[in-house]
Amino acid sequence: MRTRLKGGRVLDPANGENGVASGAVRDIEIEDGRIVAATDRKADAEYDLGGAVVMAGGIDLHSHIAGGKMNLARLLMQEDRKAFPEMPGNFCGCGGGRAAPTAHATGCRYAELGYTTVFEPAMVGANARGAHLEMADIPNLDTGAYLVLGNDDFFLRLLAAGAHQETVNAYVGWMIEATQAFAIKIVNPGGINAFKFNARRMELDEANPYYGVTPRKVLTTLIRAVTELGLPHPIHLHGCNLGVPGNDETTLATIRAAEGRRLHLTHLQFHSYGTEGDKRFSSSAARIAELVNANPNISVDVGQVMFGQTVTASADYMSQYRNRAIASPNKSIGMDIELDAACGVVPFEYKDKSFVNALQWAIGLELFLLVEDPWRIFLTTDHPNGGPFTTYPHLIRLLMDRDFRNAQLATLNKAAQKHTMLPQITREYSLEEIAILTRAAPARILGLTDKGHLGPGAVADIAVHTEDADREAMFSTTRMVFKNGRLIVKDGVVVELAQGTTHVARPTFDRAIDTDMQRWFDESVGLKAQHFRIADGELRNGAGPTILTCERGEG
């Protein structure tokens, strides 16, 4: 099957091509789901793009799309489901919800925005099989999941016993393989575990009440593990003290703790709070952005807050237990999970007239605009925690259009307006930078060499947008989306459903750990290790995963 997209302005930062700036148009040719060099052979299908902007399909490296906590969110957010019923073009009665959409709605809404790959950033090992079953029911998207480690009792016991790094590496490798994960996420390093022993807060250098291990030790050990196992994505860190004013110091110390090794700080906005001013809540975006700029080993995503009703779902039960006091509506779910991790689900409404919420909004934008390298910052709302992913077009306009941004700011809480430097920031993102943030850079930080670009050999996941000075309008209605070369969205509407794949990473590790794991599961967890492990055939209705084989790296 040969498909030709004719006459598009190709925006492909990974290959240094910017048809938007040059005005040059060219064709893109697809053969059997992959992009190939142009030929003069007859195509089975041709699409005239008429000078529209052509980019690789969007990649979201941090969006909560599957797993038990999302079902708990759905359970708590029945009003959200009712308020956002099925939309036309869904092909079934499965679509609905905004803050906590169904699997089907997730796949359809993302595709409509030009996204074709999304990673679930907090898969708990005990719940991994369920998360994979759920991901298989998300149409149109390739997916993958980061395994939550760093609060698991097996690991903390290893650290407390002073185990050799090789043993830790073997354990991490075993867990990645067993749960069919793509990367390692740390959520509140050691803090979720400490909460099980009734600690309510954990600082970076505070000892776990049971194991005596510090979050710093958890972090540095796991950074070494993923480096030495050769996992493509660095440790994906949700740091200590999420949402706590004064967590700026923790964040700065965390960046320094990486000591030059690669580290990804996720939803940085929630970790950039100072304590200045009469309300003891202030922006530390400038200080943090400065340190991020100075440390090329650090990458971040923002977790932008967008106003309106949403639901926050996190493995960080310690923080979410604190947040349940401000739940809106006033209900929440928490759960300690299987010597493994935990979860906390708290509905929340971000209000533009609230000082704190308005400043959170401003802090997120400050981070976007002050972090200089677009290859090291990613566009996220931490869906649904800062806001649903469907707000991305609005967020893109906020980044690209200073007048629009300042006009929005002028409508917010007055005191918050005085506490942000946003009006002084003149930067406006270019289309090329947006393409980097949402395609090229995530592919690079995830090690997906055949995604995020439009060169020969790339997967033919392609988004076509008609240029519009109103960038929100431009990104709200995608003219065409191709998944593996097949047209799935036309003029903003899903026209066909595609079955995606799930990306997993496969490191090599010392399999002698298997005996220890069997004993651990038998004696402590109370189920068999062999049943914890997920077979390839359990993914994607038997199709199995797309495997990225890891090359062992140097410690």
Binding site: A66, G68, M70, N71, R74, L75, L76, Q78, R81, E86, P88, N90, C92, G93, C94, G96, G97, A100, P101, T102, H104, A105, V124, A126, N127, R129, G130, L133, E134, D137, D153, F195, K196, F197, N198, Y321, A327, N330, K331, S332, I333, G334, M335, D336, I337, E338, L339, D340, V345, E523, S524, V525, G526, L527, K528, Q530, H531, I534, A535, E538
Partner: protein, 414 residues
């Protein structure tokens, strides 16, 4: 004589506890489950795993033996003509559940599971206030005080206390206490709880739980007796709960007439405890993959069980779309029970049964399609009662009956 094959570490998908250490002997078509090394086998698992070398049950239409294909096309015809089907029972694995949701999308219909009563009693609390919960491995290792509300759950979950109380817990290494509130541990529970400090409080659960929540918050109820118990006894338990490191409250809402109130009060008690110490609820339930089917409903439709799919949309109502209520307005019932020979509820409309081969029907259904059992005849996945852990079930013998998923696909194709 067929050779006896012995398979170890077999997982069980029946009661929701998801034991996975059974030893199973397979001899031709025969299947027998036994205790695995160092474990036990509960009577329910032994009974439900047992298969004899008998001829397979066959498909029937109006009581007449027919082929699977003809039964499927008759079911298709009935569903095509139906105006308001109910898909009930839903005792099936994850693939079967997905197929049933697809069936509802195709023909319309209400979806409910035969064991959803307890789930919705619990949801009375969850959806109003939420709750703070725990899972099996946490209870096993952290819990130093377990409050069991209502009757001894061992009758339904034969190995519950065996799973809760391993020989060497990681953290709860001091005294471990179990208090039965409004129930008495039976012989078997006592055996499994050897070495655990047991006590019984024969009080009315709802009143006692409510008073406990007050007491642990530092307030004193005005009454001298609480649910039939002297205040001092309830206060002593409150003190023990406050002093515990990790308390857990467990109950089976399905077996308690006021299960919704128990869930609500237990939730409030655990909320109160978590202010100063750690605690969690551990609601019991989850038979026949109830939790898995419910999980799938939530991610597929955005609603839990008791949801109507109609046209291009769906709607949820925990009362209106409960099986018994929904059947009052229905013209066709699709009854699905692959785990056990559970007969369908009585119904005057047309009945299509995707049934365990040993099912004894009070009234012959219009269509009977015998189906295999996940974990015996074919592989499948089921969820444990906590909705977090799921278990891969393997096939123990060559399948001669279709799975629910296969049977439903044939019906959909007609």
């Amino acid at each position: 004589m067929a050779e006896v094959r012995t398979i170890e570490n077999v997982a069980c998908g029946f009661c929701g506890l998801a034991c996975d250490d059974l030893t199973v002997e397979v001899e031709g078509r025969e299947v027998r489950a036994k205790a695995g090394p160092g474990g036990t086998v509960c009577p329910e698992a032994a009974r439900l795993f047992r298969r004899l070398d008998t001829a397979d049950a066959v498909a029937r239409v109006a009581g007449e033996v027919t082929s699977q294909a003809d039964a499927a096309s008759e079911a298709h015809r009935l569903l095509t003509a139906a105006t308001s089907p109910v898909i009930a029972g839903m005792g099936t694995d994850m693939t079967g559940a997905g197929a049933l949701v697809d069936l509802a999308i195709r023909f319309g219909g209400v979806l409910d599971h035969h064991a959803s009563m307890g789930l919705f009693r619990n949801y009375a609390a969850v959806q109003r206030t939420g709750w703070l919960a725990s899972t099996l491995a946490e209870v096993r290792n952290h819990c130093d005080l377990l409050l069991v509300v209502g009757e001894d759950p061992t009758a339904n979950w034969g190995r519950l206390f065996e799973k809760f109380y391993p020989a060497t817990p990681l953290f709860a290494t001091g005294e471990r206490r179990v208090v039965f509130l409004g129930g008495t541990p039976g012989e078997k529970a006592r055996r499994q709880l050897a070495g655990i400090t047991l006590s019984e409080l024969p009080g009315a659960p709802v009143e006692v739980l409510e008073a406990l929540a007050l007491l642990v918050s530092g307030r004193t109820p005005p009454q001298a007796t609480i649910g039939g118990l002297p205040l001092a006894e309830v206060a002593a338990l409150a003190e023990a709960l406050r002093g515990s490191k990790y308390a857990v409250v467990t109950w089976n809402a399905a077996a308690l007439d006021d299960g919704d109130l128990v869930a609500e009060r237990a939730t409030a008690l655990v909320d109160a405890l978590n202010v100063t110490t750690r605690a969690g609820v551990f609601p019991l339930g989850g038979t026949d993959n109830l939790m898995g089917v419910n999980q799938l409903m939530l991610w597929r439709l955005g609603y839990p069980l008791r949801t109507l799919v109609s046209g291009q949309g769906s709607a949820h109502d925990g009362t209106l779309y409960a099986t018994e209520a929904a059947l009052k307005d229905a013209d066709v019932m699709v009854w699905v029970s692959a785990f056990r020979p559970e007969p369908p509820p009585s119904f005057t409309g047309k009945v299509i049964a995707l049934a365990h081969p040993d099912t004894v029907f009070e009234t012959e259904p219009d269509v009977v399609i015998p189906v295999g059992t996940p974990g015996i005849d074919h592989a499948g996945t089921v969820f444990r009662m906590d909705s977090i852990v799921s278990m891969p079930l393997g096939a123990l013998r060559v399948a001669t009956l279709p799975s629910v998923a296969e049977a439903v696909r044939r019906i959909a194709e007609g």
